[in-house]
């Protein structure tokens, strides 16, 4: 495949990344999306907005997050030198807060007093509830009823933070249905409501805007690696549901042709079982939630249910820029089963004393595969996008260990 001059110029003015992206929304929402795009362009050009964001990132979120040399994991795998980008150390415990901060500051500039969000694992919901508490905004979080059940600690956190958590009973009762319900709310409450989307998906300008907010992950990684090793990393690995943590890490490196980039989709019970969430490996381009992208669907174009042990990856789509990066061959998309993720979850916990989110464990699992095949001077960065505290009860249940025992 011929390399492009730059992989970092998208989307075009209509929000397209190749055939992906776009603005496939009902007319009621169209004026709101155009208003948001205008407000974001204005904010992007305003140094005061960036200064305000930088202040909160340093003093409230706790950035920069460390780039940590995982010595024992490196020794154990016997290949590449592995660095963890510690996004789990951010306030609220994941990368999600980077994006939410940007959007909430934008909502304030736009004078919106009510914020809605969808959440899968609850990490985005918690981050949104947190920032809304900080700025005194009304917050409503839509969460699939299935996820409410399996992510109980995060539901409680959101409620403590003052958010209203609405369990979504429609469809498959997971993340995609939460997004449908959030869109229905937005279409109804058009005047006072800001929709804070949690990933690099949805109608333009969301995929580009969320990527911009998350790109701080990759920018810091570049600087930190320069300081620690005096050069760029050789490879990047991150898990991909909608794909915001991955896009944040990848984007600043897309034009560095020496850097291998790997996204890891959730293969659930296996790609051959239909019980997975790997949109690129097992789906095809279609239109859902405001954008064209790889989606899991049947032959009639009906969206099928995704499955993953990790609620945050349990989505039948993927951000449109990832779909494009796959099509042009710049990023390689791998997949990881529930079982592999569980093993990696335990491995990292034992070797490094870091309990990863089940989402991030998918990336770790592929590091376990990739690192031994690389030389010892190969620098591999894996995005540790979230901490696993929220997953401990679920993992205990699966592994058959009672927490009280």
């Amino acid at each position: 495949m011929t390399a492009l001059n730059s992989y970092r110029t998208g989307p075009d003015f209509r929000g397209h990344f190749g055939i992906h992206g776009g603005r496939f929304v009902a007319e009621t929402l169209m004026p709101l999306i155009l208003e948001l795009e205008q407000a974001y362009e204005a904010a992007k050009a305003d140094p005061a907005y960036h200064a305000e964001m930088a202040g909160y990132l340093t003093h409230y979120v706790g950035r920069p997050s460390p780039l940590y040399f995982a010595e024992r994991l490196t020794d154990h795998l016997g290949g590449a030198k592995i660095y963890l980008k510690r996004e789990e150390l951010n306030h609220t415990g994941s990368h999600k807060v980077n994006n939410v901060l940007g959007q909430i500051l934008l909502a304030r500039r736009m004078g919106k007093g009510r914020v809605i969000a969808e959440t899968g694992a609850g990490q985005h919901g918690v981050a949104t509830a947190t920032m809304c508490a900080r700025f005194g905004l009304k917050c409503v979080v839509y969460m699939g009823a299935v996820d409410v059940e399996r992510q109980a600690p995060n539901v409680f956190r959101m409620k403590m933070l003052g958010a209203e958590v609405v369990p979504v009973q429609s469809g498959s009762r997971t993340l995609k249905d939460a997004m449908n319900e959030a869109l229905r709310d937005w279409v109804t409450n058009v005047h006072d409501t800001f929709y804070c989307i949690g990933t690099v998906a949805g109608p333009h300008p969301y995929p580009a805007m969320v990527r911009d907010f998350q790109s701080i992950i990759g920018r810091e990684t570049r600087e930190q690696m320069q300081e620690m090793e005096g050069r760029l990393p050789d490879s990047l690995v991150a898990c991909v549901g909608g794909g915001s943590n991955a896009m944040g890490l990848f984007h600043p490196f897309l034009d560095d042709s020496t850097v291998e980039i790997y996204g890891v989709e959730a293969a659930g019970r296996g790609l051959d079982t239909h019980e997975h969430a790997a949109s690129i490996a097992g789906g095809r381009p279609g239109v859902l939630h405001g954008n064209r992208t790889y989606l899991l669907m049947d032959d009639d174009g009906q969206i099928t249910e995704a499955h993953s042990i990790s609620a945050g990856l349990d989505y039948p789509g993927i951000g449109p820029e990832h779909s494009w990066l796959n099509d042009v061959g710049r990023v390689t998309y791998l997949s990881c089963t529930d079982r592999e993720a569980l093993d990696a979850f335990q491995l990292l916990t034992r070797l490094e004393g870091i309990i990863p989110a089940l989402e991030s464990a998918h990336a770790i699992a592929k590091v376990v595969e990739l690192a031994p095949k690389r030389p010892k001077d190969h620098l591999m960065v894996v995005n540790l996008s979230g901490r696993g505290d929220k997953d401990v009860p679920q993992v205990a249940e699966i592994l058959g260990t009672s927490l009280g025992a």
């Binding site: 009902a26 004026p31 869109l183 279409v187 279609g286 174009g301 009906q302």
Partner: protein, 279 residues
């Protein structure tokens, strides 16, 4: 503006104008609760007083629809409804009725996956007159709107309370057949629209276009239909009809002897109310 030959839609609206009354547009979901019952309902609609038929194409993720139409779509999908079967339904309907306009209403993905060119050819051949595709705003006109117009199908756009005067020309630019004014900001079947506000909005749209304006979302009863129709060229009723289907199902979700007559009865009442308006 339309460039193709007039469809049954423009013929029907011209006839309504001649009669001096507003029209009744009825929405039912194709395949709800099963193919056979759904076809029987479709066939019965014109006789019960429907002037234009909107046939919902079921989709798993109907972002703009309320609980009633969401549930109807899921019932149909569970019964095995597909876009191909929906097109075939229209074909069968056309064997007996060559005058009543039929508009397919739904979301883009099933059409995209069916293949736009193939879909337009099959839909036109089956006797479909127009399309309403909720998630295709003017910004995405290249996808389906322009090819549909070229294939001789009307592309009916939704205008909403958030569509201001600045945006209205863009929304109307490639709209054909009629304009569907969404009377509330919200999902189908949710709030009750205010007839006075709706009449004012219709007047605003009419200042920009010669096309007839139909009004829907949230219209449930004959009284509401009459009040809304008074200020428009037609009124659309959907959620209330699919609710009749739901209420008449047995415990296993199957149609009963009351399903078809129930829908017919409500359509008759709605038509009667709308027809009391004379211009």
């Amino acid at each position: 503006m339309t460039t193709h030959a007039p469809t049954r839609i423009s013929t029907r609206f011209a006839a309504l104008k001649e009669e001096g009354r507003p029209g009744l547009v009825t929405f039912v979901t194709a395949g709800d609760p099963d193919g056979e019952t759904s076809l029987a309902i479709l066939k019965a609609l014109p006789g019960a007083g429907a002037d234009v038929i909107e046939l919902g194409v079921p989709f798993t993720d109907p972002m703009a629809d309320g609980p009633a139409i969401q549930a109807a779509g899921l019932r149909a999908l569970k019964g095995g409804q597909t876009l191909a079967k929906t097109i075939a339904m229209v074909s069968t309907f056309r064997e007996e009725d060559t005058a009543t306009p039929v508009v397919l209403m739904g979301y883009f993905n099933p059409i995209y996956i069916y293949g736009v060119e193939r879909f337009l050819a099959d839909a036109k051949a089956a006797g479909v007159d127009g399309l309403i595709v909720v998630d295709l705003p003017p910004e995405e006109d290249d996808e389906l709107c322009l090819p549909a117009l070229a294939a001789g199908l009307d592309f009916i756009r939704l205008a909403t309370p958030t569509t201001d005067d600045k945006r209205l020309p863009a929304v109307l630019a490639h709209t054909a057949g009629f304009v569907y004014y969404v009377s509330i900001t919200g999902i189908t079947g949710a709030a009750t629209p205010d007839a006075d506000l709706v009449a004012a909005a219709v007047a605003r749209i009419k200042a920009h276009t010669e096309l007839p304006v139909a009004v829907g979302f949230g219209v449930r009863t004959p009284e509401q239909a009459k009040a809304i129709a008074a200020g428009a060229d037609a009124v659309v009723v959907g959620s209330a009809l699919v609710e009749v289907v739901r209420r008449t199902l047995d415990q296993n979700g199957n149609a009963t002897a009351n399903t078809l007559p129930g829908v017919e009865a409500l359509v008759s009442e709605l038509a009667e109310a709308v027809r009391t308006i004379k211009r």
